[in-house]
Amino acid sequence: MHFQVIILILFSCGVLSASPHARKSGYWSLKPIVRPSVPTKFDEAGKAINPIDALIQQSLDRMNLAPSAEADRRTLIRRLHFDLLGLPPKPEVVEAFVTSKNPKAYDKLVDQLLASPHYGERFARHWLDIAHYADTHGFERDKLRPHAWPYRDYVISAFNEDKPYMEFLREQIAGDVLRPDDEDAVIATGFLAAGPWDFVGQVETRSGVLRRSARTLDLDDMVTQVFTSALGVTLNCARCHDHKLDPISQEEYYRITAVFAGVKRADRSVSDALKDKLVKERLQLLEAINRIAPGVDLADVVGGGDGLGSGAFKDGIDPRTGRIERKPMGFLTDIKPNRFSPSPNRFVDGVFIPQAGKDKPDIPISSTGLTIPSVRGADGKAWDVIRNGPVDRTHSTVLGGVDFTKEGNALLGLHANAGITFDLAELRRTVGRDTLRFTSQVGYFGTRGDNSFADARVYVDGREVVKFLKLKRSDSLQDMDIPLPASVRFLTLIATASGNGIGMDQVGFGNPKLKAPETELPEKQRRLLADLHKRKKTLDEKIGALGTGKVHAVVPETKMPEVRILERGNPEAPTGVPLAPGALSALQMLDPDLGSVASTEAERRLALAHWITHEDNPLVYRVMANRLWQWTFGNGIVETSSDFGRGGQKPTHPELLDWLAEELRTRNGSIKAITRLIVTSVTYRQVSHTAHGMAADADNRFLWRQTPRRLQAEEMRDAVLATSGKLNLKAGGPGYRDFKYTEAYAPIYRYITPDTPDLWRRSIYRFVVRTTPHEFLTTLDCPDPSNLTPKRLTTTTPLQALTLSNNPFMLKQVGYFAARLKQDAGAKAADQVDRAFRLALGRPPEPAESKVALQTVRDKGLFALCHALLNANEFAYVD
């Protein structure tokens, strides 16, 4: 280590080439994890001590340093609350803990806090720092990213549910591939798209050079994020040349890039795959229902059959004439709209082409002279004939996961504008019953996109019984189950344009069946049917509950692009052969090949997700174990928590790190389990204000005491709100926006004073703007979300003092704090002062403090007392 420091001074740029030999020989972080032998020690009660303490004690002994005493309960509960929840403890909770006689009170408290929903909110902040999450794009045109928040909520719940860490990582890299029908897994991939994105370079500019440049940097951001966060590898250093310190070649960089080159950032639906899956399940149920009561197929009837399968597939009836037609007809001419043409088919009464007009003419729909009122959108134009099967040039016969031309399914193709009326009198004879039902799943079989749609309607004896307006492909299938009593004769199906012309208005009635009522079935079949209907109803509810939810994540490129090495990182200088996807060869226990140039985008990401989370990968466990240590102790065992390479620091306690990593692995990646181990250690519970080890270890790297810390920006804001009583604990959903937004070429964000309950939510739910950072929080050291922030910096500035003492948000909260005191403690000043100290500092005032504080309240009012408390060092620091 000393050697390295000297070199850093000699080689001023700080980037030193290690010799190839040294690179290959294997750096400590790349070697397999070895479970260290933990010295077996027992406490005074004869209980084996926490291995963390045993290992820490070992290194303290070597340094000749004594550990510190355990902090008192008042200190511990405040420390635990901020470390685990990011919030101050309530005074009542403090008192209960301080006075508890239960020797297990501490362990119980730890369990309670780890089970609190606010734990996830606190730990998510750490992870979102690493993911450089924000709610806008950044760069010149810093547009809103309104669908980013589901990813933020995913991270919060992942911590709260204690999702196994490897699963957490796999989902964030390839959740949409692993479990496409799991909304959470799809949302998890928001990780890949959490960083900044240059709209002008990616979309707006016409220059190919500039687009390629922006895309190269975009991919760099993605691979850097994945490798930095999961593995603590500074992969980005190998973009222009082989890594100068770590064994990462430039070729490897581009092979890793090839893993992600097939995706781009976009808002995407979270439930498409799930919806398809559920709809398919439901269709299977419907098929089962149909099998029990098969009925007569009206598509078969249109094809000239008897409804039991004798018709010809693709035969159809010309809506102009009623004649049978087989060949595709395309756009129809010589149309006489609103004229009924009887059909020679004995089951079909006739056909017609509806047209609406100024005088709203009635439309004749039967040979007996029945008419229906004018239909909006019908424009008297028509395409192809009414078919047993898809109409001419149907975009796809697959809808909702079912191909209606296969496996016993049937499709009645009905392009706008056309109508067909069936003669139920004839059909009743085939079914053998007078009372019937008509069931079908109608849908739009035209092209994708929200600009193409059509209307479908069903009439019984000229009475409209059901209609579906503006049916689009994304609406999937619509069920109908229409009773047809013995008294009715005509069933009419109509497809019309929906006001946007007849282009692609390819309506289809899937499995159009006439059936006997289920009440007439034998008992056993009826019971079976009832069960099927119940299951279908459950599915219907599930499908209905699916939102139109979106998340800002990744979608596949239309074509997998070729990836080559870019000479000196220049996108205009690709060189060599197209690269197969790969990972790092430096981790010799893993196979770096992730596929071939022919691998699909999905296969590539899936392979990388498995490679990273492989149980033999030592880095992934070490890096997270170290982060968990940093999140509770303030410093990692490796201080450079996102760099486990030669450019970073070495572990102060390598054995402890490996022990924690091994625990993380054997405890199935349980973050809560490791965190519990850490915070229940004697090491964690030490006092922070002692100076006996300053001379030997001023930085407290060997943990001879606990390190005091200042509240982070978000903790400070949340603590102020909690103290004033105004904190709104509403969890999840779109972020609160404490700014005024003005739409413009480069959108404008103007911060306002947050003074309404919806803006008093926890800071984790803030709508984070990239180019216009939040003044209040930034002043308090909230980092720039353009950066991957493995660890926050703490500065102390006069501007912070100005902000905390003069910012309107602070002053309003000071006012609310004062008002709360009157409400909580009544009119007596002494009670108010006592309550104020307990709320702000978690302790009663000392007699001397009480005296001065009372004087303050008498002379200057409660506001002055509250102002001083919220600005006090003790409020801002955790012991």
Partner: protein, 465 residues
Amino acid sequence: MSIRSRREFLKTFGGGFGLMALDGLLAREPRPIAHHPAKAKSVIQIFCPGGISQVDTWDYKPELTRRNGMQFDPSGNLQFFASKPGNCQGSYWAFQRHGECGRPMSALFPRLATCVDDMAFVHSMHCKSALHGPAMFMMNSGFILPGFPSMGAWVTYGLGSETDNLPGYVVLPDLRGLPPGGVINWGAGFLPAKQQGTPMRTTAEKAPLADLFPPDEFKDYLRDDQLLTLLNRNHAADRPENSELEARIKAYEMAAKLQLSAPEATSIKGESPATRKLYQLEDGDVGPFGRQCLLARRLIERGVRFVQIFCGAENTVARKIRPNWDSHEDLPRDHGYWGRVLDGGAAALLKDLKGRGLLDETLVICTTEFGRQPAAQGKDGKGRDHNADAFTAWLAGGGIKGGISYGETDELGWKASVNPTYSYDFHATALHLLGIDHERLTFYHNGIERRLTDVHGHVISELLS
């Protein structure tokens, strides 16, 4: 600042400290570094966002004028940022030689023309992006991505501040709004947040710093600073080993000083009528920018290390003219407007600094993020598209040799052809004048000892006096 970074900093720059000595320094400001004697004490940077056209301003290209109306790209293959090139379009303003040095400057800058003997031009600047956001980032931070410390942050990180009464790095944004890329342009990136630029509001009716005073509705609420002091003293007494607590107490004392010093620094009540006239404060167009330039002088007089003035905002609030130099449609109109603004303010600043003997110790930099095309753009052919391959920046004062130029573009002013210069050399030179070796001003972040100049940069010795 994390303890490790601070220690790294000291290791890199202080050299030779034992651990004990280090510990004593941990809580204080980093020692100002001096790799070599400095020529300049402070910097005033004028940033002109949008992209100044080099061929209409400082880079004289008679050949372009000769080819007026001729095809620029007979091949038809070129594709600029937003358009395909139109015909060659010579400067809209005539060039004339000025000063003892006889350097040409266009008629857009009659006032600056009288300062030409103090100015050094770099005609061969180029940039790695032709997009405003990334290009702004590069000229300010050396990287086209957001998240890197700006030059002002690096400078104050290295040199600290000369004053406790004002921030070390002050930004005076255009009154119309933020520049492209927003406040990231003066961000601290991964450096400690205290190094970020502090924007000052310079309209007379507002306090110059955010939260300098409580808002009016709280003016009458009493506070008790004595109580705060008592609480903090008691708290610190039990924790003598935590020097951050003392630093925070001191920060509150400094904040109180700022309440006096910031309004004093930004009030121009005491300025003479001649000075007001020099900066054209009464002129509706030039006045606001002139005021920023005057404030910049007042700030560096009071020990501020780095002042950044923006001459233009982002492409958001376009009214009749463009809100910055980004003249895609009507360059005579937009450069005509902004040229007059820059000419008035910058010339006044140079003359004022010189008259007060401050120019020698103040490095004045004027730059933009990229240049513009020598070919015309738009249906009327009155605009010019972005050009990352060539632009001009100039420096003055603070150890700069006046009346010279460095680097050249080709005969049409299209691409830097002699001594092409990225931000790296430009920044290296500026740091050099401040006594800093750009390769030794580093900060560890995510695996790399980061620098303002990435892994590049050479001091341009030709520019040094």
